[in-house]
Symmetry: C2
């Protein structure tokens, strides 16, 4: 079976269209996809950035907002900018990591469509609990697992591994032979690569 | 006639595959392409960068070199990293701006294939003179026009205009309605946009 890892960050704008597209693209190529929620914060901190580069460099931010808007319009999905940007994504990432298989993918899509499809905040527990329920996941035990010390440590380890592999932004696809493909515009190329080297 | 502007920087790695691809893509869509050599230096200076971001942030640089290598391999064109990187691109940009129409496009492709296809330096006058000759352009008058005060001022004005339009990197395509598309991976989308809004 061909495999690929999909690294995504809930605060990342381009991870939103990627999260909506990637399931069907992987399935069409027979690629088994591992969803890997992680945080860009530690990676950006190593660059000396304490905020999104789209806020640090406003011209890049203006470009990105328009580019994502065009991308979503071409896909036929809604796009709305959440305030503030970036949204605090730590708890959402912990919850996603605490879920398995299709629950993780479904919850992740639910978070992204709320955040960037409807412009809603994603930081607080009650909001995330209702998203879990919308995915048919019992919120209370999921939140307990999410906030366990073991899960917190596991998320830290995921972030460290992403940096070590050479992930520099989100979304990124990593294939079994260690190739990193960065960006919503690299999904097809990455999954073709994974399929050809199964 | 549909029109689009192609902003490119001779030191930019991703401008190399873009310069080789864009002519046929524009022609196929009936888009009249204006080649716009410019410099990223003034734009990067506004971000506080005095070097390529691929040197300032080595992890991003490692990613970029591998990504460009894969892109060129998929296109079937050679790729070789020039040393040092980035190459000083001022004189090449001045020469390109001093040329008209197809001469400008041919010279620009010549510079890119030498620089990133064969890894050769592009900074010095003699090298650039031989590239002009290879394109059937008389080097001496072309270099004189390139180094005239009027042409130097014209290149500065191009850079200022690029920044004002919202160009944040190279290559970028700008359509008549002011849309900016950044990246070798946006050429098709940009030229489709230009063709649909002629």
């Amino acid at each position: 079976m061909a495999v690929a890892e999909f690294f995504y960050e809930f605060a990342s704008t381009y991870s939103y269209p990627a999260a909506l597209r990637i399931g069907a693209l992987a399935k069409a190529r027979g690629v088994d996809l591992a969803w890997r929620p992680f945080l860009l914060g530690p990676i950006f901190a190593a660059y000396g950035w304490r905020d999104s580069p789209f806020n640090i460099y406003p011209a890049k931010g203006r470009y990105m907002w328009r580019d994502v808007e065009r991308t979503c319009a071409a896909m036929g999905v809604p796009f709305r900018r959440p305030e503030p940007f970036p949204q605090p994504s730590l708890l959402a990432a912990r919850i996603a990591l605490a879920l398995e298989g299709e629950d993780r993918a479904a919850f992740s899509r639910e978070v992204y469509t709320a955040e960037f499809g409807r412009g809603l905040p994603i930081a607080d527990r009650a909001t995330l609990a209702s998203m879990l329920a919308a995915c048919g996941v019992d919120p209370k035990p999921a939140l307990e697992r999410a906030e366990s010390d073991a899960n917190k440590a596991a998320l830290k380890a995921e972030c460290a591994r992403a940096a070590e592999i050479g992930v520099v932004g989100a979304p990124s696809i990593v294939t079994r032979d260690g190739e990193v493909f960065w960006g919503n515009d690299r999904l097809e190329q990455a999954l073709d690569w994974a399929a050809e080297r199964r």
